[in-house]
Subunit: 367 residues, 2 copies
């Protein structure tokens, strides 16, 4: 990299956000490569990276205005995005929900990690959606265990034997797999379900059972996500699921379809059939809805029959150091791919760039 | 048991208390033996045992006054104890802090599980202090993991390798052992310390390391507890511990000496030397003090250097179904020992009774 390359890390401003786009370890990788790194005051504070740790790693800690004025490349996590960007600046982050026309008009090159071709093996080290889902899946189990009124493991003590918790994971993407793994670590008996039957093997390799539904219809879709089911398919599946849900103590749902309303997997009726003390964690809870009829993003409620329903939005931000470290590595991997001798070369014939470059040269790329 | 034996379960009234002394499963054991069981309205509600589950198990759900008026034996957890007891009634619970002279004067037979000879193998199924400590040790790790900003396990992902958390458990009684086991389950690297060197083997059998201190002085005491150290011994130990504490991410302290101020193990200075994001959970935090200088019972605080210090009082009550189930079994085991053909026979020459019977026949027994 050439000395004139200036990379800035901004402080996130979304409510509840505790992550930072680049951790001090990542600063060193950039300065070693000859870049100048600016870090906005207190950018890493909530992720337990004080300003001093950035200075020690070779960054300059500066006010936001300085970072915005001097940066060639700006690293962020997600919306709300910084305003006041200028022509030629490169913004890298998770840009779902961003106002791309406005960024294009300003002449900003906007690079969105959400557009990564996730199945491409050389892109996997850059896959921020996966790295953050991994954190969320881990935390979902801890959140459930925290409110669950019994033990997760089977414990044999002088006061008798406590049975293990029965955990059901719905949706076996990255978050679901990590939830399975974490619940298994804690000693729970785990069952999982996904409309993609090819996930069964991975589920079983983690020591969990795969739920075979009679109403199952294979639903593998594009880009590593499950496809959306038809209304009839969803209803038949839900009905059969209801009976299984009632037999479990903890249900963790993780089924999302990008940009669409998440499928309803756990109805109000299913929750009513669960025993008092059961816990439902909906990782898909968000502005578009969730997998659980009773869930609301950011809200924990206890139903009349004693079931705790948690609308678990943004769990990755609640494990901020681990999530930031992973995101930071994802960004560095992408930067390594994009930069050649200190210069960022946009080349839309490259499969990765074609996915992530959202605006360039005053236009939306249509990626 | 004779039909006239009436056992009542009261609703606990301490703030934050969610446990119940007898769960429905325990009701059935008593009714099968011919006893009549009264359960105060909503006694098990917060432990996820609704009144209907008691009725189904064969109990009568009644107002508190009825339970108090008709019971021969009253089952409770702990203070504040019910008032208005009368001569000849038997009160069974954890009676530390109870006004024994008043109970003796009223002619109540007060049986306190805290007085159990814990090392006696036939008493172990009755050991409520252990069963509740076991719950607290389990929950301490979950409470720490919930606020810890990194993963507990080592995780190898496409975004790189996250190192495992380093957990230090101070005090290796029942709570400490369960904390070690739970942290190990979650994949942490665990080290433990106790002034009783004979605990080392058990620590190692759980896959943890035993910390050998140069200043260690064997401190095994009576009744399965550690003995109190002298001020000099404590200070030397603390000083050496400080350096170890700074190298750990999560510290869980469990060192209590019955009826005495808990030893100070984690000084303010030690917490200041920990890295930002570290977590300290003090299971000994209570009215007499705690093992951690900065801890306050029931309070979670974050220090200026980013360390979360949790004064974890009463954790067993936060896993109310598991804790109640274990306590219930402890009570049943004790009742089986005390009752002969439906009658409770007080015999202070019996080693167990000599420990647990605190008042009888209008006098304190001096146990």
């Amino acid at each position: 990299m050439r000395a004139e390359l200036t990379v800035a890390v901004l402080r996130e401003t979304a409510p509840g956000e505790r992550r930072v786009a680049l951790v001090p370890e990542g600063v060193r990788a950039l300065t070693d490569a000859g870049a100048r790194v600016l870090v906005e005051n207190a950018a890493g504070e909530l992720a337990h990276h004080p300003d001093s740790s950035y200075t020690e790693a070779g960054a300059e800690v500066v006010p936001r205005e300085t970072a915005l004025a001097q940066a060639g490349i700006l690293l962020v996590l997600h919306c709300p995005l910084p305003t006041g960007l200028r022509k030629g600046q490169v913004l890298i982050g998770l840009l779902a929900g961003a106002d791309l026309p406005a960024l294009a008009e300003r002449g900003v090159t906007a690079i969105g990690l959400e557009g990564l071709p996730r199945k491409l093996s050389r892109a996997q080290s850059m896959d921020a959606l996966s790295s953050q889902d991994n954190v969320a899946g881990y935390k979902a189990v801890l959140v459930a265990a925290q409110v669950y009124p019994r033990y997760l493991p089977m414990l044999i003590t002088a006061a008798g034997t406590a049975p293990p918790a029965r955990v059901l994971v719905l949706g076996v993407g990255v978050a679901g797999l990590q939830a399975i793994g974490t619940a298994r670590r804690l000693g729970a008996v785990v069952t999982a379900y996904d409309i993609r039957p090819e996930t069964a093997e991975e589920v079983r390799s983690l020591g969990a059972s795969f739920l075979e539904l009679a109403t199952a219809i294979a639903g593998s879709g594009q880009g590593g996500y499950a496809r959306a089911l038809t209304a009839e398919e969803e209803q038949a599946q839900r009905h059969e699921l209801d009976a299984h849900i009632a037999r479990h103590d903890i249900v963790i749902t993780t089924a999302r379809v990008p940009g669409r309303k998440p499928p309803l997997l756990v109805t109000e009726q299913a929750v009513k059939a669960m025993v008092s003390g059961s816990v439902v964690v909906d990782l898909a809870a968000g502005p578009l809805g969730g997998n659980v009829e009773l869930s609301e993003p950011g809200v924990t409620r206890v139903t009349e029959n004693g079931v705790t329903v948690i609308g678990a939005e943004g769990l990755a931000a609640t494990v901020p150091s681990a999530a930031s470290a992973a995101y930071s590595r994802n960004l560095l991997a992408l930067l390594r791919h994009l930069l050649h001798e200190g210069e960022l070369r946009i080349d839309l014939t490259d499969e990765i760039q074609a996915g992530v470059v959202r605006t360039h040269d005053g236009r939306e790329t249509g990626a």
